[in-house]
């Protein structure tokens, strides 16, 4: 019965990934006291500080442009791309011992950490989002669906990037260095600092080749809609994500074939 065999395997895999997520949680945030708060604290503090500075400057110089949501969307997405990617450095090294259990595969280990770090940034984002709404005292959006779709696309993109970077870290000697560059690069590879509308046309067409610039713009459209013209292309983000996912999986299968998990650059 192939279907029952498949569902049995699937159950084992889900069990393994759940266990790995819990293992990552304990290892990274400790089980004593408020250690688990560190999970949200790091992204929260960075985004919170930027938002506080902006809020302060807005008090001194009133403007009609919604600065606070602008910062929340920009820095939120930047951080959601950056932080999980950065955390993939050395993921296999920390967990290689678990490969002695035949149920656990390299990909499970990657998924475990990816899921946990995306979850932690997502929670910080939601907390800041609530804070933002509370400060504005306004819970109406132009298009809530656009925000949700944008978040989902960002999560998909980040997951792909995480697995890709985990592969580089695990199977290449320079991987951990490359990850630092990729992660830091996301400061500029998302649309954190400007609305597309502010850019000159030629520059804008170039910038819109960055999938996360599109996603940021989409989310901003969801927040404040018609105040500024938003430029984005959902199909392009989906297309990019599919290519990224395909490329990552191809790379994984080719590396899995040619390299042994016991033969890694430690």
């Amino acid at each position: 019965m192939p279907s029952s065999q498949f569902s049995r395997d699937l159950r084992v895999q889900i069990r393994v990934i759940k266990a790995l997520v819990k293992r990552e949680f304990i290892a990274l945030y400790g089980r004593r006291g408020l250690g688990f708060l560190m999970m949200f604290a790091e992204p929260l503090v960075i985004m919170g500080v930027v938002m506080a500075i902006v809020a302060y400057s807005r008090l001194r110089q009133p403007t009609t442009f919604p600065v606070l949501p602008f910062v929340l969307t920009g820095w939120g997405i930047m951080w959601m791309c950056r932080y999980p990617v950065q955390r993939m450095a050395g993921v296999l090294r920390a967990n290689a011992s678990f490969l002695y259990h035949r149920q656990i595969t390299v990909l499970d280990i990657f998924f475990g950490r990816t899921i946990l770090s995306i979850f932690s940034t997502l929670v910080s984002f939601v907390l800041l989002f609530l804070l933002n709404q509370a400060l504005l005292g306004d819970f109406s959006f132009h298009d809530p669906m656009a925000i949700v779709v944008s978040l989902l696309l960002v999560i998909w993109y980040t997951a792909g990037m995480c697995i890709l970077c985990a592969l580089l870290s695990s199977y290449t000697a320079l991987g951990d260095r490359i990850i630092l560059v990729v992660a830091a690069g996301h400061i500029f590879l998302t649309g954190a600092f400007a609305m597309m509308d502010w850019l000159p046309v030629e520059f804008r067409t170039l910038v819109l080749y960055l999938p996360m610039a599109n996603a940021t713009e989409l989310m901003r459209f969801g927040f404040f809609g018609d105040i500024v013209t938003c430029y984005y292309d959902i199909n392009y983000i989906v297309f990019f994500n599919i290519v990224l996912t395909y490329f990552t999986l191809q790379l994984f299968f080719s590396m899995k074939k040619t390299r042994d998990p016991y033969d890694m650059p430690y």
Binding site: K22, I26, A94, F98, Y100, H101, R102, I104, D263
Partner: protein, 223 residues
């Protein structure tokens, strides 16, 4: 029953692939205790890992129709940064075993006391062996794969291991690799020698011992 058919394992080296296991075929029925002797670099640990499924053979098939433990070895199985308890909890989740009952058994059997709540990286080799045995006993496999690790337990612990392994359940199987005949005769009832990637079986330990001595004396070990 564990069945290996034409199992080959090669590792890439600078000079091209090096064959570690060369066409290994055997089957181990339930209740049999197989000891595998081999010198350094003969491929003992590789064989154990391949049998456990932690490593995929280059070619050949392995059929496991009983539950097989992970290789109980010095390294592997546990993450050093986690405490003994956290490792236990992780393994319980992976193997779908109730944690509370397992914890009682591990506390009782490992006799590690407070050290169960310290990181595994602070354990000595003997303590790691105790933890590995205790956790694998709590999961309760049909077949145990033991890679040298029994050599580090003290006499009291080894006695308890043997009792737990064989007196509790006579249908338990065991595959143990070592370069030392003493441990193997203590635990096993079938003997074999791994040399040049090939596994040779013997009816009794005297013949196995003689063959192993011959292999050792003839050979300057070079990798």
């Amino acid at each position: 029953m564990i069945c290996l058919t034409n199992v080959v394992k090669e590792y890439p080296t600078r000079k091209g692939p090096r064959r570690i296991l060369d066409n290994i075929t055997f089957s181990l029925p339930k209740g049999k205790r197989l000891g595998i002797l081999g010198c350094n670099g003969a491929g003992k640990s590789t064989l154990i890992r391949v049998i456990s499924g932690a490593e995929i053979p280059t070619s050949g098939t392995i059929v496991r129709s009983m539950s097989v433990s992970w290789p109980l070895a010095f390294q592997g199985g546990f993450v050093g940064g986690l405490t003994g308890i956290d490792n236990l909890r992780f393994i319980c989740r992976v193997y779908d075993v109730p944690y509370r009952a397992a914890l009682t058994r591990v506390e009782d059997f490992s006799e590690l006391g407070g050290y169960l709540r310290e990181p595994v990286s602070s354990y000595s080799a003997g303590m790691r062996a105790r933890l590995a045995f205790a956790i694998s006993m709590a999961v309760d496999f049909d077949c145990y794969l033991i890679d040298e690790i029994s050599a580090v337990g003290d006499k009291r612990f080894n006695e308890r291991c043997k009792k737990e392994l064989f007196n509790m359940k006579s249908s338990r199987s065991l595959i143990m690799v070592s370069h030392f005949m003493g441990v193997i005769t203590e635990y096993c009832d079938t003997f074999s020698v791994l040399d040049q990637g090939r596994l040779t079986f013997f009816d009794d330990k005297a013949k196995a011992m003689a063959f192993y001595d011959r292999v050792l004396s003839q050979k300057v070990i070079s990798f």
